[in-house]
């Protein structure tokens, strides 16, 4: 079995299973902790509280105006990174194909040139972000190995992906193998480190949205 066959075959299966099991474990472990019922009278109906949960998921994407001056750079870099990554993953034909073969879902893809450009912007943003993480005093204090490992495991797929789709450097087969293996590494790590925020962000924003809607508190 070549490394490519391994990556496309048993490695893909194993990493998908680990990712699914890990995510389920972590979510169950959090959400099944002892919960205390809320007896305080809510300002709003249950329907409106649920609406609050849903709307916070969206509203937290845009920081409040009062905060902008101090966080604009970080927010912009993060936005370019996330949007670029989303564009590449959800718009790239081979990725859609992967999802299609696993679930049957399919949607139109974007031309390769656009994907390459988006990948380039994503890489640039990621480099800026990691430099910022090393230089900013607050980020230096907060950062752990998890931050750097997670960065690397996202950087490698985007890097190998742009090389693969650019088709200018390196051999297709080898790059494809590296790309698939790097994605599998990301999948395996996802449930256990900070990359899990891709799921937790929804749970957390929902929870705060519902809780704060009960109080009529600012969101």
């Amino acid at each position: 079995m070549t490394l490519l066959e391994f990556a496309r075959g048993p490695a893909l299966q194993a990493s998908a299973l680990i990712m699914i099991a890990g995510m389920a474990w972590r979510m169950a472990g959090i959400l099944l902790l002892r919960r205390r019922p809320q007896y305080a009278a809510s300002r709003h109906s249950l329907a409106r509280r649920m609406g609050g949960g849903a709307s916070l998921i969206l509203s937290r994407f845009i920081p409040r105006r009062t905060f902008w001056p101090r966080i604009a750079v970080g927010v912009m870099l993060s936005a370019v990174f996330h949007l670029g990554l989303a564009l590449v993953f959800f718009g790239g034909a081979p990725h859609i194909l992967l999802v299609h073969q696993a679930t049957g879902l399919i949607w139109p893809n974007l031309p390769k040139g656009l994907i390459v450009m988006a990948s380039g912007l994503t890489l640039a943003a990621m480099i800026a972000l990691i430099v910022r993480r090393r230089l900013h005093p607050v980020l230096r204090l907060l950062s752990t190995a998890d931050d750097y490992v997670s960065w690397l495991l996202v950087f490698l797929p985007v890097l190998t992906g742009i090389l693969l789709s650019g088709e200018a450097i390196g051999d297709y087969g080898s790059l494809l193998t590296l790309h698939i293996l790097s994605v599998e590494a990301l999948m395996i790590w996802l449930p256990f480190g900070k990359l899990m925020h891709s799921v937790l962000v929804f749970a957390g924003r929902w929870t705060m949205g519902v809780t704060f809607a009960r109080k009529g508190a600012a969101t």
Partner: protein
């Protein structure tokens, strides 16, 4: 501007191992799914620091809000997290040490107002302010609450129901004296009443006129009301100390008093955390929904002004601004009521930049004003509020929290303000349109 380094606390009287054990037990007991979710979610983006007045004024990264709760998070990861056994096995979350707990005392008590701006900026929607409150519980049980003032207050409050250690008889006398002095009828310890107003300990000491103001307004409204000296002091310094038992004791006292006289409404005074506690936490301590309504005084005033039960003589365009108490506006959902009142008063309202829900904290909330050694830091934080107020050019700064009022007065004096600090409650009482009932 550089701040003094966080001070080291005096050596605790409890042995280290026991200290750590107590803190850990309490940390863990305070973590449910919502708090756990919060602690799993931090992506180390650093935005919370940019929202916090203490970081913004000092650029000291140790004041990063999420950093303030690091021991709580470490305890969680080690004991409660879904992969806790892995963390323990590979030493990824070492046991919190007594030394670490001690060095975190100042971060949690001196440099956090629990104002919630960080909770507002966090892209992962972590309610950091709430986590700080929980962390205080663990530190309190480890004997690491700042000894001066705050600790003393909490102990006295637990023993007598008032941070000042006053007995019910002493309260009764105080109230009658205030009634006489201000020429207002006081209802005290009556057997039955619809409305129970409560009072903040700061008002007792600093602003006794506010008690006369409440009485005057309730008389004006012609409702059945009474002060209850067995459920009187709503300040709940135990809350900001992290004393869960004390916090519950005070709250249950108020609830029982309200139940005893069949109250339909309990009115919370001009105080941030008093409202937060009674409106949003009291029912949980009680174990069931409260059989009465809990409103903040500004909500009562706004209701009265809207339905005509309170009539005022509006002023002539006094240029004023309004400082939002964090617990009332941002955290409590009551930022509309004060503005309705100000409009009814005929005030020419000059809102600060960042007014309303995202307003800056005055720096005195959450018990910080009671910690003497935190004063330099608090003063630094206040500079933001100072600039906000001065930029409005307003003659009066209204607020509806005695803690903020005290902080604004102190800060204003230091800054040689020409503007005065005023209580919204007292202002309404002063401009009531007279009728026979008063």
């Amino acid at each position: 501007m550089s701040a003094p380094a966080p001070p080291t606390p005096p050596a605790a009287t409890i042995p280290d191992a026991e200290q750590v054990a107590k803190a850990m037990r309490r940390f863990i007991a305070d973590i449910g799914p919502a708090a756990a979710l919060a602690m799993e979610s931090c992506v180390h983006c650093g935005r919370c620091a940019e929202a916090c007045q203490f970081y913004v004024q000092t650029n000291d990264p140790r004041y990063t809000p999420i950093h303030k709760i690091a021991p709580l998070k470490q305890a969680y990861e080690r004991e409660l997290g879904p992969f806790a056994f892995v963390y323990r096995l590979f030493g990824l979350a070492p046991q919190v040490t007594a030394k670490e707990l001690e060095s975190w005392q100042a971060l949690i008590y001196d440099s956090c107002n629990m104002c919630g701006r960080c909770s507002l900026i966090c892209p992962m929607a972590i309610d950091i302010a709430d986590l700080v409150e929980r962390a205080r519980h663990g530190l309190f049980e480890a004997g690491l609450v700042p000894a001066d003032y705050l600790g003393a207050l909490a102990e006295k409050e637990q023993a007598t129901g008032s941070p000042y250690g006053l007995t019910q008889a002493q309260f009764r006398d105080m109230l009658h004296d205030i009634g006489l002095k201000h020429g207002v009828v006081m209802h005290v310890d009556e057997a039955k009443a619809d409305i129970i107003p409560t009072v903040s300990s700061i008002d007792l000491k600093m602003f006794p006129a506010s008690m006369a103001a409440i009485a005057r307004i309730l008389n004006h409204m012609g409702v059945s009301w009474t002060f209850r000296t067995d459920g009187f002091d709503a300040d709940n310094a135990a809350l900001t100390a992290g004393d869960r038992a004390g916090q519950r004791k005070i709250t249950l006292g108020i609830i029982r008093a309200a139940l005893a006289c069949g109250a339909r409404t309990v009115v919370m005074p001009e105080c941030g955390h008093a409202f937060t506690e009674m409106r949003w936490e009291a029912a949980n301590s009680f174990g069931q929904a409260l059989p009465f309504r809990v409103v903040q005084i500004t909500e009562l005033l706004a209701e009265g002004l809207s339905d005509g039960r309170i009539r005022v003589n509006p002023g002539v365009g006094e240029r004023a601004t309004y400082h939002d108490a964090c617990q009332l506006s941002r955290r409590g959902g009551a930022s509309a009521a004060p503005r309705l009142i100000l409009r009814a008063l005929g005030v020419d309202l000059r809102e600060m930049g960042d007014a309303g829900d995202a307003n800056w904290c005055c720096g005195g909330g959450g018990g910080v004003a009671l910690v003497k050694r935190a004063q330099p830091l608090r003063d630094l934080a206040f500079q933001i509020k100072r600039r906000q107020v001065e930029a409005t050019g307003a003659g009066t700064v209204y607020t509806s929290c005695s803690g903020c009022r005290q902080t604004l007065e102190h800060g204003g004096k230091t800054a040689n303000w020409t503007s005065t600090v005023a209580s919204l409650l007292e202002r309404v009482a002063d401009t009531l349109a007279h009728n026979q009932k008063d």
